[in-house]
Symmetry: C2
Subunit: 97 residues, 2 copies
Amino acid sequence: MADDLFKALADPTRRRILDGLVERDGQTLFEICARLSTRHGSELTRQAISQHLAVLEAADLVRSRREGRYKFHDLNTEPLEQIVTRWLRPTPPENTA
Amino acid sequence: MADDLFKALADPTRRRILDGLVERDGQTLFEICARLSTRHGSELTRQAISQHLAVLEAADLVRSRREGRYKFHDLNTEPLEQIVTRWLRPTPPENTA
DNA sequence: TTGTCAGGCAAGTCGTCACTTGCCTATTGT
DNA sequence: ACAATAGGCAAGTGACGACTTGCCTGACAA
């Protein structure tokens, strides 16, 4: 679980995909490809991106819904929450003795 | 920079090292080895751990200070802050010390 | 129905990463 | 001085990950 999460974040392309989904949620595979190509000079194949999306889905960072021949990808930031809280000193409980 | 950070977090052993440093900061290499061995059943070589520490240092997640023949390793959580804030919807700055 | 568009599966290549082995340096204690 | 301790450097191996190529399925429009 945590393994999938950090593995997913380890790749720069996948991080850029997440960046793109923050800007605009619910993109299709081709939209994501186009974005990576124009925004950043990515020359990756559609299949490459598709595989990246699979990894992101495995980490539950991206969820997909199918509609007809389209498949939309939505960002899920939930898993990110636990990342920092794992290593940050137990934040000062403020008013808990 | 971000590249080093996520690469560093991608490995489970390195994450456990960070866990250990949260518990007890300023450990030496041998202490870290011992911890990984006892706490988790790690049977990794000293050199393996040493290399992991180098990666963590490259990501600035760990800082080391040398004293005589000892080298102490300190956790630095600073780089972790930017992780979540990258993808979380712009959170209200409110408490920026 | 046929062509096109969005996406998927599978195998193969290549590079990188984790880990080991072997040897070396520096500091400390007796 | 000598041995033991804490750590470092470098080359080699094996596995996994990123990416490509080639082909296939399913949905929609003419």
